[in-house]
């Protein structure tokens, strides 16, 4: 019987290097989304008429997606807890729940996008531009950039989660469950701010 030993190295600040790397990634992502959110907020304050456009977004679907993401954050911390106890089967089950949560989120978002596109609200909203309403057209550009970029992060998180599930089933890299979880929490964190901005503040 051979023994594979996976050593975790600590940085000078006593933070495991994997975690430190993830925190650096998260800080970078916060700058990207923080910049977008602040830019949106500035325009929202400048153009109060955006509230009419925000009224077209579905608060129900937005709230449902918030519940789904919060619950999937919970399932991924439970996966991390199970991985620490070396319970691979339980960790895999919780991670599967997280991936399913991501899938539900994407299905909800697709349904929402379909309704909005059918109403003529697209990335450039040509119908609004033809009527000279460039300001309200800009709202939808922000909306699709922010939610689209966020959805891409959800997809990336799901892919990472599936790869790590395959690895832990082989008994490898159990510590990566926490790292995948941290990334997933960041995705949740961004949505926590996108939801009130785009769905509640009308």
């Amino acid at each position: 019987m051979s023994t594979k030993q996976q050593h975790l190295t600590l940085s000078e600040n006593k933070i495991p290097e994997g975690r430190l790397g993830l925190w650096i990634l998260i800080a970078g992502e916060l700058v990207i989304f923080g910049g977008l959110i602040m830019s949106y907020l500035l325009h929202r304050l400048r153009y109060p008429q955006w509230s009419e456009m925000a009224a077209h977004t579905s608060t129900f679907i937005g709230a449902l997606n918030t519940v789904v993401l919060l619950c999937s954050s919970y399932t991924v911390v439970r996966a991390h807890e199970a991985a620490q106890k070396l319970d691979v089967a339980k960790a895999t089950r919780w991670m599967t729940c997280t991936v399913l949560g991501g899938l539900i989120f994407l299905i909800d978002k697709s349904v929402e996008y379909t309704h909005e596109i059918q109403e003529g609200f697209t990335f450039t909203s040509p119908s609004l531009q033809h009527s000279g309403d460039y300001v309200n057209s800009l709202f939808w550009s922000y909306y699709y950039i922010m939610t689209g970029l966020h959805s891409l992060h959800v997809i990336a998180g799901m892919v990472v989660m599936i790869i790590i599930m395959v690895q832990i089933k082989k008994g490898k890299n159990l510590h990566r469950v926490e790292l995948a979880g941290m990334y997933w929490h960041m995705v949740d964190l961004i949505w926590i701010f996108l939801f009130p901005l785009l769905y509640i503040a009308k």
């Binding site: 019987m1 916060l30 700058v31 602040m38 500035l42 082989k170 926490e178 009130p196």
Partner: protein, 114 residues
């Protein structure tokens, strides 16, 4: 050090990560997060628009703090990491207040393409 037996191989799970932090009561945190979400949905019906927006963003900030501290385990990290994350937030705020006068000075007419 813990060991997982798999396919005639024993894989040693690193202890450094195990001993790095504890675990808060995750179910309690989830219940608080869902309650805050319900509150943020309700305030729009109860308070005036301005107060509603202030309260909605206050609950969002509270939810974010709960996720970062408990789910991302920031409360177990060294203080230097708090400073690094706070610096990022300061940069974002500097961007907001730096650009604010320019954006608010733009009129809808100026925003139209010629």
């Amino acid at each position: 050090m813990n060991t997982v037996i798999n396919n005639n191989e024993s894989v040693v799970f690193p202890d450094a990560e195990h001993e790095y932090h504890g675990h808060p009561h995750y179910t309690r945190i989830l219940i608080i997060l869902l309650s805050l979400l319900a509150c943020s949905l309700l305030v729009g019906y109860i308070f005036s628009p301005l107060w509603a927006i202030v309260l909605i963003f206050a609950t969002a900030a509270w939810k974010a703090a709960l996720v970062v501290r408990n789910f991302m385990h920031l409360k177990y990290e060294p203080f230097i990491l708090f400073i690094a994350i706070a610096a990022v937030l300061l940069i974002i705020m500097a961007f907001f207040f730096g650009v604010y006068p320019d954006i608010t000075a733009i009129t809808p007419e100026v925003a139209k393409p010629h």
